[in-house]
């Protein structure tokens, strides 16, 4: 192994990229766009969900509990109350009317308060105080569950409003209070969770794709053959490739982090450098994987077909958008075979939990192993070509 030859190969790769402006732009625009698009679409909360309310409650001399809840719901941004029907609208058959609205998808939900909602609730409190059994008063929520995010946002809003009003009016707190103490991620938004994922995904995708494209071109234009007739060894070629694409992955991560900090105010609790180390290892490994697969492929088309094959499981199973716990158990073993899983987990621990190398050593070790194995295998594949 000679460093000057290794660096000559790295320099060649980086120089070709610099001249290829479109590819150069692609390398830096792709992660930027991903941050922008995913960051804004996933980062936002669900707002302005259309609902109807039917309030048949007569209230009590002390006031109306149902109207208080409705006022509370009105004060949040989650729901957009289209109309409120009361007992005065009995001619319209408001319960059926609003349920139909939901069925016709004109609204996501219809909330109905029964005739004696306030009185029943007050009676329940008294029964509770005297240790007597009681039937809980209820309000009915007709909900369109097509979109689980919307459905759960409505449920959370309604429950929250009820708790809030009971607490204000009757000083009623739930029997059990769960004390929440955020160990990590005190002010974590979705974008904070998401940014390390994008870093890993972009690092994987760009190094993998560029390696395939560069290497296939190297083969089809016979420059690879020519390289192999010079003193440069297969190991040096592979190492040179690894360095150039590792550097690229680093530059890219830096762009993502700067974009993240400036545009989305993401937090970086731990060391910037440790996060970059994780991405560097991933970049080297996926470069090796690209080399390996493109030397298995017989032509350019076959090589390009590997891109979705690697990309799709990585985007779905590596814990970028949702945690591994949300991956079906049957597929979870695959998650643990995807190097991106470890990179994302490692980078996330550094950025949100503020962990150092000593705490993410498992992820670092797995990624190092992945990189080394890929480098050795691709060197071997190159040697075998002869």
């Amino acid at each position: 192994m000679r460093l000057d030859r290794i660096l000559a190969i790295s320099k060649k790769n980086l120089r070709s990229l610099r001249r290829d402006r479109r590819t150069f732009a692609f390398i830096f625009m792709v992660p930027f766009m991903m941050m922008l698009v995913f960051g804004y679409t996933f980062g936002g909360e669900v707002k302005d969900i259309n609902v109807y309310i039917v309030n048949l409650d007569g209230g009590s001399p002390q006031g109306s509990l149902s109207w208080a809840i409705i006022d509370e719901l009105n004060s949040t941004e989650t729901l957009n109350i289209i109309a409120i029907y009361t007992s005065e609208d009995a001619a319209l058959d408001p319960i059926n009317l609003t349920v139909q609205k939901v069925e016709k998808a004109e609204a996501w939900g219809a909330l109905t308060f029964g005739k004696n909602f306030t009185n029943e609730t007050v009676a329940n409190f008294l029964a509770l105080a005297h240790g007597q059994p009681f039937e809980p008063s209820n309000m009915t929520l007709h909900l369109d569950g097509t979109n689980p995010n919307v459905a759960s946002a409505v449920t959370v809003a309604v429950n929250g409003a009820v708790q809030q009003v009971l607490k204000e009016k009757y000083n009623a707190t739930p029997a059990v209070a769960v004390e929440k103490d955020m160990v990590y991620g005190e002010d974590t938004d979705f974008i904070d969770f998401f940014a390390p994922g994008i870093m890993g995904l972009a690092g994987l995708l760009v190094t993998f794709m560029l390696t395939i494209v560069t290497f296939v071109r190297e083969r089809s234009s016979s420059t690879l053959e020519r390289l192999l007739t010079t003193p440069v060894t297969e190991g040096e070629v592979v190492t040179g490739y690894a360095i150039s694409f590792g550097i690229l992955a680093l530059a890219q991560s830096a762009v993502i982090l700067v974009t993240g900090v400036l545009l989305f105010n993401i937090q970086i609790e731990g060391s910037f450098l440790v996060a970059l180390l994780v991405i560097f290892l991933l970049g080297v490994g996926s470069m090796g994987m690209g080399l390996l697969l493109s030397s298995v492929a017989k032509n350019e088309l076959q090589a390009v077909q590997f891109i979705p094959l690697v990309f799709i499981p990585s985007i779905l199973l590596a814990g970028i958008f949702w945690p591994l716990e949300a991956v079906p158990e049957l597929l979870r073993p695959i998650s643990y075979f995807i190097p991106l899983t470890y990179a994302v987990d490692g980078a996330r621990s550094v950025m949100i939990r503020g962990w150092g190398v000593d705490q993410i050593w498992v992820q670092v070790a797995v990624l190092t192993l992945f990189a080394i194995v890929m480098l050795i295998l691709s060197t071997y594949m190159l040697k075998r070509r002869k």
Partner: protein, 251 residues
């Protein structure tokens, strides 16, 4: 190892093949070829497409494993490692980096052969003049014409001043004036004791070689100086001589 040590370098052969054979499936590309090329020779390989010229060179370069037989360059058995820096190879394909400039291509190959900075600067000037591309030094290869790319490829082969040169059709697509320039340069290299092995389709070029090897069906059907070959077949030119040897071989 014994074979490697007992090298035929003492014979003074720059290139030697012994019963070299290369098969691709049913096709025999090189058929028990016994080649001896002396040091300092300008050796021209001629023959129709598919006669095994390029395959022979690729096997010598270690790019393809021979099916049987052996070969050596400067006494070291192929695949050559120790003496690899003494060999220069110009493939038939352009095999240069299109996204790099001429200078960057040359620098890459110079770095791979560990050519010193000063040596490189000097040789780069000399080579760019020879291939008439001095003014295009910093142009991207993708902006050059086919012939120019070919010249860049030749310059890349020569940048480390090799002792033995393998040039696979070095003058294809090069205009006559520049071809003459190439030949002047080859002559200069020969005077400095370099060995040149080249394949060519141009008979007027083959005439300028010291020794011509005529190949057909993976075999050497005739070998000798151009004059010898023409005399033996009483031909006026090498083309007729080749056809005569071809007929002889078939009969």
């Amino acid at each position: 190892m014994a074979e490697r040590e007992g090298c035929p370098d003492a014979d003074g052969f720059a290139v030697r093949t012994d019963k070299l054979r290369k098969e691709f499936g049913d096709i025999v590309a090189v058929n028990d070829l016994n080649l001896r090329i002396k040091k300092g020779a300008l050796y021209g390989m001629i023959g129709p497409n598919g006669s095994g010229k390029t395959t022979t060179i690729k096997v010598l370069m270690g790019l393809q494993k021979p099916t049987a037989g052996s070969c050596s360059i400067l006494g070291e058995r192929v695949p050559v490692r120790k003496g690899i820096a003494m060999i220069g190879y110009m493939p038939q394909e352009m095999a240069v980096y299109y996204d790099l400039s001429i200078h960057e291509n040359l620098e890459l190959f110079a770095d791979l052969y560990s050519v010193g900075k000063e040596d490189f600067a000097k040789r780069e000037r000399e080579l760019l003049e020879m291939v008439d591309l001095a003014e295009r030094r910093d142009s991207s290869v993708s902006h050059l014409s086919g012939g120019m790319r070919h010249r860049v490829s030749l310059a890349c082969t020569l940048v480390h001043d090799p002792e033995v040169l393998f040039l696979d059709e070095p003058t294809v697509g090069v205009d006559p004036e520049l071809r003459a320039g190439f030949w002047d340069y080859f002559a200069r290299l020969r005077r400095r004791g370099k060995t040149i092995v080249m394949t060519t389709h141009y008979m007027d070029e083959a005439v300028r070689c010291d020794v011509v090897g005529m190949m057909r069906g993976g075999r050497l059907i005739a070998e000798g100086t151009p004059d010898e070959l023409m005399r033996r077949t009483s031909s006026k030119n090498l083309e007729d001589a080749f056809l005569a040897f071809s007929r002889e071989g078939k009969a």
